[in-house]
């Protein structure tokens, strides 16, 4: 039987994925012959922050998985990644992995890495001291990407205005290079897509709708496309569905790199072996 386009996608992504891909158009990865690498260098969002296609996640199970490695263990993990071209690190105040980043910066020059962190602060008064604390904990005098952590209401820009103003001021001073939000609901994502302040956003995305803001990936992808069209930097998380899609790694990587609206994505590996495996699969799919 000749394999038509729909059959091909069905084989590659399953029925839901096939429907989604055919709805959204031909994936970018099929258009060009360029191989993707985890270490591909990209410039994210309107502030053109230099990142790698894959960020080294330090927040699996709220950072517990990485912190199990210990202070030096995480630093060694980041060095291992850095030596393989992975200079984009994804942490958060809530993950409690700032000290681990600081430890890593003892052996890696600060200017050679891109640090993304997230804040759970909800008032302007708390933001300034929190920012000072982040800089001290991270061992740096600037943060490349600062995101509001876990936005879930559609009115988050109104609710967070005071915090956003403090972060904007920090950007003007060069303490923060760009800003945005990590998103935890579809409504918040749709708001992010039309909020100019949000220059970068991070949200769950995978082919199966696992641990995402909607179980229908097409709905999320439509919003991401809107963001991309507006020039925002779009980052993906939960690409492996917090581990639930580990056995479907190729499918989910192919999907996320193929939809054409996710610039880069974060994956939190528990150890070097896992990290090396993910890097190799990104090149292989």
């Amino acid at each position: 039987m000749a394999m038509n386009r729909r059959n091909f996608f069905q084989k590659a992504y399953g029925t839901a994925g096939a429907a989604l891909i055919t709805t959204l158009g031909r994936p970018e990865w099929l258009r060009g012959a360029t191989a993707r690498k985890a270490s591909d260098v990209l410039y994210l969002g309107p502030d053109k922050i230099k990142v790698t296609r894959m960020a080294i996640g330090l927040g699996t199970n709220a950072g517990n998985v990485q912190r199990e490695l210990g202070l030096q263990g995480v630093a060694d993990h980041l060095k291992f990644a850095f030596d393989r071209g992975q200079f984009f690190w994804d942490t958060a105040d809530a993950y409690k992995t700032h000290p681990h980043v600081k430890q890593a910066l003892k052996s890696i020059p600060r200017e050679k890495v891109t640090i993304l962190t997230k804040t759970d602060v909800r008032t302007a008064a708390e933001m300034k001291p929190a920012l000072d604390r982040y800089l001290q904990e991270l061992g740096t005098d600037y943060i490349d990407i600062l995101l509001l952590h876990g936005m879930h209401t559609p009115k988050w820009p109104e609710e967070m205005k005071g915090v956003m103003d403090v972060i904007s001021e920090a950007r003007e001073k060069g303490i923060v290079r760009t800003h945005g939000a990590s998103i935890h609901s579809l409504e918040a994502l749709q708001t992010a897509a039309v909020t100019p302040w949000c220059k970068v956003h991070l949200q769950g995305i995978n082919h199966a709708g696992v641990r995402m803001d909607s179980t229908d990936p097409a709905v999320v992808v439509a919003s991401l496309r809107q963001s991309k069209a507006a020039g925002k930097g779009v980052l993906g998380m939960k690409v492996l569905g917090e581990g639930a899609l580990k056995d479907h790694m190729d499918e989910t990587l192919r999907f996320v790199m193929g939809i054409g609206c996710v610039d880069a994505f974060t994956i939190g590996a528990a150890n070097r072996e896992e990290l090396a495996h993910v890097i190799s699969r990104i090149e292989a799919v």
Binding site: N61, A62, N64, R67, E68, G70, L71, Q72, A94, K96, P99, K102, D120, R122, E137, H149, G150, H184
Partner: protein, 159 residues
């Protein structure tokens, strides 16, 4: 309003009750663990029953459960505590932690804090789902468990 009794009650919004039900679901198996002291098991069962009964209040309830998890070694140590406190005036789900290392010094911090008060007020800080993830992680590893039940006589919730 003099002479009229004003009945206070907890107010739950959005998915609060669904969330508290998840907390109960996560705690319930802990009470059945072999080797757990009977008084701790009883305290956990009472908390689980009270959480499942919400929004109906449990008169006289006064239960505290704490799960503590340690990580690291001499170079860098961490400890985290996940707490559930229920009494007639407050429901509290919280977590806190500390990190210590000779080079980074000592820091203590609050992580998630979700509180509902019987006067209808509520205060939430941090990501509530992350609290569940953290608790599950701690329960799956070496941890210490404290549970105390100081509920009054009028607390008739079956345990």
């Amino acid at each position: 309003m003099q002479g009229r009794e004003f009945e206070e009650s907890f107010r739950f919004g959005g998915d609060d009750l669904a969330y508290l039900s998840k907390v109960a679901q996560r705690l319930a198996p802990v009470a059945e663990r072999p080797g757990l002291a009977p008084e701790k098991a009883e305290a956990i069962r009472r908390a689980v029953a009270a959480l499942r009964k919400l929004p109906e209040p449990t008169p006289g309830i006064n239960v505290q459960i704490e799960v503590a998890h340690r990580m690291g070694g001499e170079e860098f140590s961490e400890s985290y505590t996940y707490a559930v406190k229920l009494d007639e005036r407050r429901i509290e789900i919280s977590s806190r932690g500390s990190q210590y290392g000779p080079e980074v010094g000592s820091t203590s911090f609050s992580l998630e804090s979700l509180q509902w008060y019987s006067n209808g007020q509520a205060a939430h800080q941090g990501n509530r789902d992350t609290w569940l993830e953290r608790l599950a992680y701690a329960l799956a590893r070496d941890h210490t468990l404290d549970a105390a039940d100081e509920s009054g006589d009028k607390c008739t919730e079956a345990v």
